[in-house]
């Protein structure tokens, strides 16, 4: 039924598969094209290349993350036929990669939705991985003419955006909610497509938490110039003792970043309080006291460091709520509202104490 073509397919044929911009298909992950029922469909590689892995690493650090997209439409994996399962994915490259690399050795169709290059869960929350987009994509790819069955397998985390009852009513396709993690798909298929609680559950283990740390580190960059400027001012007047005064202060202030973006996610489950801002403030405060002890800082200087580091690390930690997997909006609102003025007051107190510490040398 299928025949291999050159890498330059007939544009008219490709348009039938729901693809309009042919250049967009000249991607390393499109292995070749197959003809199925008179239509040309791109075949993607299941195994990730080193270029795919490099791309993911870059995206983790926020580099070109928003342009990290796959063209929406219907793709083939292996040599699928009429009865092969249809897996639905987002057009964020990392989501697409997670899916295809979990399907090595399986013949399947992959229907990629236009989620504006955003992952399944976030896109479902925004509604772009949604009922309307799925209905439109099923229609534009003429999926009903490709497969004989009427089942779509969706990642479970697409459920906030897609209404399975609506899809069934309006397209005739039945939505089956697959596992949360693509890596569990093979086990789920082997288990007769039944999910146990771990397969249905979102976790936030150490690996998950550290995976989102890099982007938080990148976003904390404004702290660096502020910390260096403050430490430089603190060392004034210039002279022989400038570096001796500025260096410990710089270390204390720069340490806020790893405290709030690396230590915090690593230790999250064990830090007291459910509020991220409190957990982070605690780490920032402890870091300041540790610096005070190590550098034998005067009491007032240590205290100034405490009042600066605690709110700053707390703020960084609070920003982690968006990257976590278990926070709700009323709770995040509570954190923001309760911590705003205390953080401002603490920063002001820290600056006042720093001036006092320099003025009186205590």
């Amino acid at each position: 039924m299928s025949a291999l073509l050159s890498r330059k397919p007939d544009p008219a044929l490709t348009r039938q598969a729901g693809f309009l911009m042919l250049d967009e298909l000249k991607k390393p992950w499109v292995e070749k094209f197959m003809v199925f029922k008179g239509r040309t469909i791109p075949v993607v590689a299941a195994r990730l290349s080193s270029a795919d892995r490099r791309g993911s690493l870059k995206a983790r650090w926020g580099w070109g993350r928003m342009r990290y997209a796959v063209l929406p439409g219907l793709y083939a994996l292996g040599a699928p036929g009429e009865a092969s399962p249809v897996f639905v994915s987002a057009n964020y490259k990392m989501s697409f990669d997670a899916l295809r690399s979990s399907l090595v050795g399986i013949d399947a169709w992959i229907l990629v939705l236009d989620t504006k290059g955003i992952n399944v869960w976030c896109a479902a929350g925004k509604g772009t991985f949604g009922t309307k987009e799925l209905l439109g994509r099923v229609a534009s790819t003429k999926l009903a003419a490709v497969v004989g069955h009427r089942t779509l397998i969706l990642p479970q985390l697409g459920a906030p955006g897609v209404s399975a009852p609506e899809i069934a009513r309006l397209s005739g396709f039945r939505v089956e909610w697959g596992p949360v993690r693509a890596a569990d798909i093979k086990a789920w298929l082997a288990a007769g497509r039944r999910k146990d609680e771990p397969t249905r559950s979102v976790t936030f283990g150490l690996r998950d938490r550290m995976a989102v740390a890099p982007v938080e580190i990148v976003h904390s960059w404004p702290i660096l110039p502020a910390a260096l400027a403050l430490a430089a001012l603190y060392g004034l007047p210039a002279g022989g003792a400038w570096l001796a005064r500025s260096l410990p202060a710089a270390i204390l202030l720069l340490g806020i970043v790893p405290a709030g973006t690396i230590l915090f996610p690593a230790l999250l489950p064990w830090l007291p309080s459910r509020a991220f801002v409190v957990k982070g403030a605690l780490l920032g405060g402890l870091w300041a006291f540790a610096c005070g002890a190590v550098f034998k800082m005067p009491a007032l200087e240590t205290l100034a460091g405490f009042f600066l580091a605690a709110p700053a690390a707390g703020f960084l930690a609070m920003n982690f709520t968006g990257a976590s997997t278990y926070t709700c909006q009323p709770g995040a609102l509570l954190e923001v509202e309760r911590s705003f003025w205390p953080m401002i007051a603490s920063l002001a107190a820290g600056l006042a104490l720093a001036i006092g510490a320099r003025a009186f040398g205590i």
Binding site: W121, C122, A159, R181, T203, F204, V212, P330, G331
Partner: protein
């Protein structure tokens, strides 16, 4: 380790009279908030509910309701600065790994 946050699941409501016990909520909930027992769904883990709205959207009889929102402090701050509802910023958390929530 199952983590709890603040004010979880306060807006989640289940109308037991309407519920047909199909288990769709159990199937889509990422935090095992529901159980089906004797032909009816029950809320057994309200403290873990992050109000994502998957259950309400997929309940075939409309027995569930929840006020959906992102649990993201940055989105709330952006919303407050712009005087709008919580809004995901450009280049914020969105686009994160498959396991990250946000936006």
């Amino acid at each position: 380790m199952k983590l709890k946050y603040l004010r979880n699941g306060q807006t989640l409501a289940l109308d037991a009279g309407t519920c047909v016990g199909c288990g769709a909520c159990v199937d889509v909930c990422p935090h095992a908030v529901f159980e089906v027992d004797g032909g009816k769904a029950r809320i057994v883990g309200r403290d873990y509910c992050m109000e994502c709205g998957a259950c309400a959207r997929n309940c075939p009889v409309g027995a569930l309701s929840v006020k959906v929102g992102v649990g993201c402090a940055a989105a709330i701050i952006i919303g407050k600065l712009r005087g709008t509802a919580p809004t995901c910023g450009e280049g914020g958390c969105c686009g994160e790994s498959e396991r990250s929530s946000c936006c």
